[in-house]
């Protein structure tokens, strides 16, 4: 009995540093954010209690809703590309030949480099006069004069950013899909083949249904990532034209830091966090349920 108590104590001591860390750098900031969101505060003047004013302001702030709408649009456009594209490549490279392993490794390379670095790289590629995208399109005769990809037209900018991010994160979905496809017992595919199923039938009736959970989870993880997009737009379009490509995190950042409306920024953060929470909880329920 004393031994058991002792082990409980020792175990708690092992967990204590991590717990203190989370309390200090996640729980406490979260609590403090609530507090800040009820105040007007610019660092220079002392915080002033304003009740729910910041939230009321947020609900009437067209720019905020515009940014949320744009973020959703971006997410709805990019997520299917990432999932379908990642899955198609996964089907292509799931086998273990040398060429397929190589392709897998190559497609995954951009995943490990920074989103900041890749955004700047594509900022250059999409640059109207110095970039290779226009150069290639001009040389192929697809366009007659350089296209201004970034910063002049919201949709064109959005597609340029989507291109760069697809390049950057396609490998993430691919590698998880390959894992799921390879986890399907070979007997199932063999049996289907013996039954005369074509490649198309085997893909749609065996592979797809058996990897459904992974598809769902990758979709959610990708969507959450896209809803929190910042680096790519901050670095490639800077929100231009006229803040039409400013994402929600961008808008929160803009209010909190350069403009130092800390209270308002905190309120926006909280609204955003609640929004993301819906997706995260869905993801957790899905993982929990299927882990048994």
């Amino acid at each position: 009995m004393r031994g058991h108590k002792r082990r409980r104590l020792i175990g708690s001591l092992y967990v204590a540093p991590a717990l203190l860390f989370v309390l200090a750098f996640t729980v406490y900031p979260f609590a403090r954010m609530f507090w800040i969101s009820f105040h007007n505060w610019s660092l220079i003047t002392p915080p002033k209690y304003v009740g729910l004013d910041n939230y009321r302001k947020a609900f009437n702030d067209d720019q905020f809703w515009e940014s949320l709408r744009f973020t959703l649009k971006y997410t709805l456009l990019i997520t299917p590309i990432l999932i379908v594209g990642g899955y198609l490549i996964a089907l292509l490279v799931a086998g273990n030949t040398r060429l397929r392993r190589f392709t897998r490794a190559v497609v995954f390379v951009p995943v490990v480099i920074g989103l900041g670095a890749s955004s700047l790289l594509w900022y250059w590629l999409f640059s109207a006069r110095y970039g290779l995208v226009n150069k290639v399109l001009l040389d192929l005769g697809i366009i007659d004069e350089p296209v201004l990809w970034l910063g002049t037209d919201a949709d064109r900018s959005n597609w340029a950013v989507i291109t760069s991010v697809v390049w950057k994160v396609l490998g993430f979905g691919m590698i998880l899909f390959v894992g799921a496809i390879q986890a399907i017992p070979t007997e199932i595919n063999e049996a289907a083949r013996v039954d005369g199923a074509t490649l198309w039938q085997r893909t749609t009736r065996v592979t797809l249904p058996l990897t459904r959970r992974t598809i769902l989870l990758v979709t959610l993880v990708s969507a959450i990532g896209s809803l929190l997009a910042f680096d790519q737009f901050y670095l490639m379009t800077a929100g231009q034209p006229r803040n039409q490509t400013a994402t929600s995190v961008f808008y929160v950042y803009l209010n909190s830091f350069p403009l130092l409306k800390l209270g308002y920024g905190a309120a926006l953060s909280l609204i955003l966090a609640v929004f993301i929470l819906i997706f995260t909880i869905t993801q957790m329920i899905l993982t929990r349920r299927s882990k048994t």
């Binding site: 409980r8 175990g11 708690s12 001591l13 092992y14 967990v15 540093p17 860390f21 989370v22 750098f25 996640t26 729980v27 406490y28 900031p29 979260f30 954010m33 800040i36 490549i89 292509l92 060429l99 392709t103 497609v107 390379v109 951009p110 490990v112 480099i113 920074g114 989103l115 670095a117 890749s118 700047l120 790289l121 250059w124 640059s127 006069r129 110095y130 290779l132 390049w167 998880l176 013996v194 039954d195 005369g196 199923a197 074509t198 993880v221 910042f230 680096d231 670095l235 995190v249 929160v252 950042y253 909190s256 830091f257 905190a266 953060s269 909280l270 966090a273 993301i276 909880i281 957790m284």
Partner: protein
């Protein structure tokens, strides 16, 4: 009963017969070549931007600023790297800042999650599951949303413009994934080993060091790897916390280098040099430890 079997049998035979044709070598080969060609095409497209950036970084200054751009450098020069070397506080400052932050992040993450993973996996801790949920809280609250209060707290304790401060943020980002991987890995160690050591009179610290540490080495590599890469690449947190040029990390100085000019415009050559330098460590680490990377993604990315 027999009827069912008879009904099922004929289509099966027919189907198998049909299936035989596409599996014969003559029909199968074009498909295989096609798959190979697509593999090569995909690889080429994915590598192209990286190669283009690398090539642009060794163009002579005038060529790098030329419009329309050249595909392949006509001349070779390391001028862009030379300019990057002396840019602002000097490349070394930023490289060291990034590296130190990443190493601190690795250290913090490993220290916290190894202890906690061991505790959670092997000890009868009261309220264990709620505790675990609290520890994974960062999964639910995105750190992007917490930067304002963290910034304020850090201002009070002089942790802005500090590599330690930034490493703390990066550790907070990495903690849930790392803890998850560590706990699983400690749980996978057979209980018999631990019991045998206990019978021999080893205490928990000795057991941790002699039994568990060797067994969780793959998890340690995975956690360290992801912590390093996350920290090395992270942008928004650094942007918020660092406002003095000499405490910038590589992503920050890259972004600022873009707006600086050499020949009346962006210094594209230097920007490409910077991108190449900041990409290299990650790609290098990935190529060396590919297995651990993939394992980490498969084991932890979705859980």
């Amino acid at each position: 009963m027999t009827e069912v079997i008879e009904l099922e049998a004929p289509p099966r035979v027919r189907a198998a017969g049909r299936d035989f044709a596409p599996r014969s070598p003559r029909r199968k080969r074009p498909r295989r070549y096609l798959a190979g060609a697509v593999c090569l095409a995909v690889s080429t497209i994915m590598l192209m931007p990286l190669i283009a950036s690398l090539l642009a970084s060794v163009k002579p200054t005038e060529e790098a600023a030329q419009t329309p751009p050249t595909y392949v450098p006509h001349g070779f020069s390391l001028d862009a790297y030379r300019r990057l070397w002396h840019y602002q506080s000097g490349l070394m400052t930023y490289f060291v800042n990034s590296f130190a932050t990443a190493m601190l992040t690795v250290g913090f993450t490993l220290a916290l999650t190894m202890l906690a993973g061991y505790g959670l996996a092997r000890f009868p801790i009261p309220f264990k599951e709620p505790l675990f949920v609290v520890l994974l809280l960062a999964l639910i609250v995105p750190y992007q949303a917490l930067l304002t209060p963290i910034f304020l707290t850090f201002s009070d304790y002089d942790l802005t413009n500090s590599l330690t401060g930034l490493a703390i943020i990066h550790t907070a980002i990495q903690l849930p994934f790392s803890l998850y991987v560590m706990r699983n890995s400690f749980e996978a160690v057979p209980i018999e080993l631990e019991e045998a050591a206990m019978i021999d009179g080893a205490n928990s610290r000795q057991i941790l060091r002699r039994i568990f540490l060797p067994a969780v080495v793959p998890a340690i590599v995975t956690v360290a790897l992801f912590a390093f890469v996350t920290s090395w690449n992270e942008y928004l947190g650094a942007l918020v916390m660092m406002n003095k040029d000499e405490s910038f990390t590589l992503p920050l100085i890259l972004a600022s280098a873009r707006t600086k000019t050499s020949l009346g415009g962006t210094d594209w050559g230097m920007l490409q040099a910077g991108i190449t330098i900041s990409i290299l460590p990650c790609v290098g680490v990935y190529l060396l430890l590919q297995k651990h990377f993939i394992a980490g993604f498969l084991n932890g990315a979705l859980k």
